[in-house]
């Protein structure tokens, strides 16, 4: 059963940008692509915890601001020659609002 939480207006996130959602277990970055898809990922790069929300978003990927690792927003997987995985969470847009699945909070608590 999913339990969608209304996070914010889509317009609050710049296209090809991200905003943070604070949780008890650290920040989640909510990304908006140039095509208006949204993705939620942990705001920590598998390399050295770089804040992904501050990266440059291109296509459905983000480049970490610290050392330019590229991470897929769809899978959380690190692209190219580097290796690593970022946790991803269900997110969607409905009527111009961004929704996250509340179960992600549980999952984060467990993780």
């Amino acid at each position: 059963m999913s339990d969608w939480i209304d996070i914010t207006a889509l317009d609050a996130i710049p296209q090809r940008g991200a905003r943070l959602v604070k949780t008890a277990h650290g920040c989640v970055a909510v990304f908006r692509t140039g095509a208006d898809e949204v993705y939620a990922l942990d705001n920590a790069c598998p390399h050295k915890n770089g804040p992904l929300a501050e990266g440059i978003v291109h296509g459905a990927a983000v480049t970490c601001p610290l050392h330019n690792w590229v991470i897929s927003l769809e899978t959380g997987e690190v692209q190219g020659n580097d290796e690593g995985q970022v946790a991803t969470y269900p997110a969607k847009v409905e009527d111009g609002r961004v929704l996250l699945d509340a179960s992600f909070l549980t999952r984060r608590a467990v993780a």
Binding site: T23, E54, H58
Partner: protein, 811 residues
Amino acid sequence: MTQNLIIIGAGMATGRALEHLLDADADYNVTLFNAEPRGNYNRIMLSPVLAGDKTYEEIVTHDADWYAANGVTCRFGERIAAIDRAAKTVTAENGDVLPYDKLMFGTGSNPFMIPLPGHDLEGVIAYRDLEDTQRMMDLGPDHQCVVIGGGLLGLEAAAGMAARGVDVTVVHIMGHLMERQLDEAAGYLLRKALVDKGITVKCSANSKEILGQDGHVRALLLDDGTELPCDLLVMAVGIRPNVALAQEAGLAVGKGIHVDDQMVTSDADILAVGECVEHDGAIFGLVAPLYDQAKVAAATLMKEPAQFVQKELSTKLKVTGCDLFSAGDFAEGDDREDIVFRDPARGVYRRLVIENNVIVGAVMYGDTADSNWFFGLIRDKTDIADMRDTLIFGPAYQGGSAADPLLAVAALPRDAEICGCNGICKGQIEDAIAAGATDLAAIKATTKASASCGTCTGLVEQVLAVTLGDDFVIPAAASICGCTDMTHEDVRRMIKSQELKSMPAVWQACGWKTSCGCHVCRPALNFYLLADWPLEYTDDPQSRFINERKHANIQKDGTFSVVPRMWGGITTPNELRAIADAADKFAVPTVKVTGGQRIDLLGVKGEDLPAIWKDLNDAGMVSGHAYSKGLRTVKTCVGTDHCRFGTQDSTGLGIKLEKTLWGSWTPHKLKLAVSGCPRNCAEATCKDIGVICVDSGYQISIGGAAGMDVRETDLIAQVPTEAEVIDIIKAITQSYRENAKYLDRIYKWMGKVGLDWIREQTVDDLDNRAALVARFEVSQSIYRADPWAQHATQKAESYQPVANLSMEAAE
């Protein structure tokens, strides 16, 4: 049995036919008659001879030794007076009668002389042969000459004489020059270039009478009453095929001597080639088709099958500094469309006329490097639908296989200009390579090609590759990133020339392979767009590295550093107090004096940025842009205010410079320093731009580095006043913005374009300096503003989390 071949006229067409025959060891006894007292020479090169760029000896194609070696009987200076076709003999002027088996006409054409009153005065000449050329060359400086006719020939005559110091006026009956080859716009540019050479050009001018004195020309009278005094009058208004002899011999003649596809006249034993022929209703005035005819005629004489086919023709004007090209048909029509490109600043004009997705005509002025490629498209009737959007920019902008740049370069003629700055043609580069210059540096040293602005470097390398084959490996022209195959330079050219003013426009026009670029290309494009279109383009924060997006330096733990500006390194107790208060209030873990003469607050949380900026703003401070590819610091020393050695107010000048330049975005960071004397306490000689004050004024030097590379600056100018220092530095900054590749510091840029070029643009050429300063100011009208203030007041919210769920129960 060896047959007798008699050739009438040793012109360009018969010369070529002879070569084909002799190369193939054809079994003929050749006798060559020529009315001119000499053998075959390259008539079209009379213009460079006139201009003094070549000598007659250099344009001779076949000399006496050649004729002797090939057993050709030469009768130069002798005209053929009559032909008896029934007897198959010709009669020379001196009465000799010679039998022929085959006869070849190559009598060329006669210049047309308008039968104006006075046209037979002494000093009225045409422009056709060496004698005419010599007459013009004999004129000497300080004489006056009128040229009637603003076509190819007339203009080459005019330019050649002008180059010799003759005062030349061109009188042209039509509204613009070369109206048969050029449209009005190109005609206008051409006229401007000729006027710049000191030639007077009169269009829409009707000649009425040639006035004389003692049998010699004195002036040309126009029908509006204007009198144009002259010592020589050249008529270059057209040519008529020279058919008199053929007509008398009873051959079929229309405008020219009728020939079939094998170049045979109405008499099976008589052939004709060159300007004297008429083929399928057409007559000819350029050498390209004549060479084709020569080849066919030679084959016919050897009883080999061959067929002359008329092809598209193109024209170039051989006047130094007037690069123009014209081909095909460019009349307007309902089913025709134009693609036009103009770059008034560079004097470049291109127009393509398209009909049913095929180019039917092209006119180019100013930049004709791609003309051969366009000509190929016209000739081959290539369907251009797929490349329509970028067609006008030439082969470099065509994706896919059509765009093998090496093929395009290989196809260029020897006279194709490669280096626009130094006017170096492909042929000169090939010669330099043959003489042992086998890499770019050697080509630069020997020919100067690519030694100035450097934009032709790629082309020069391609010429090297084409000429040397596998021996030369082109240093890969690195594309910006994986999203495109284009280089920074190419993309920048597109942005400027196609007026691309948004990122999607660039992606579209340049065929980006990704939907929206990547972290490598987007910052570069964002910079190019805002540097080239400061008023039209809106900066895109999402295409900037986080430091420039949040106007602070990101740290390894995700916090930020805050560096307020301290103009020229000068601060006040109040500013220091405000910094101290801010450090306390926001629990800043580290306060450090930077290497740039100011204070860094390190470890500030992202959420706190707008608030700490607000406090610093309230104390009168603004962003120090310690994060930007833009103006960083202007370091100063204490100068005349305090120092016993100071020669000028270095601190004051540093502050003025910083206040002028701050906020400007540049390809990479830009650091300045002003030292009060050559002791150089501000370390000015390792900055991007440094100023050393001396008694007589200021030494400006550029291209220093003290980071990953260490390099001393090079002196670019010494000037007496602060105002000039500021102007020159603005101009250098603007030129750097407009021309450098993204992420090249000034020293790297300078390595490509050369100090001399930068000096020419920003110091020597005062008009250009002023224009650069003006463009810099236009851009600064937008960017000389504090981003902190803007973000603190209008964007503070965006620095906060968008939602706080830390209170939600985690079941």
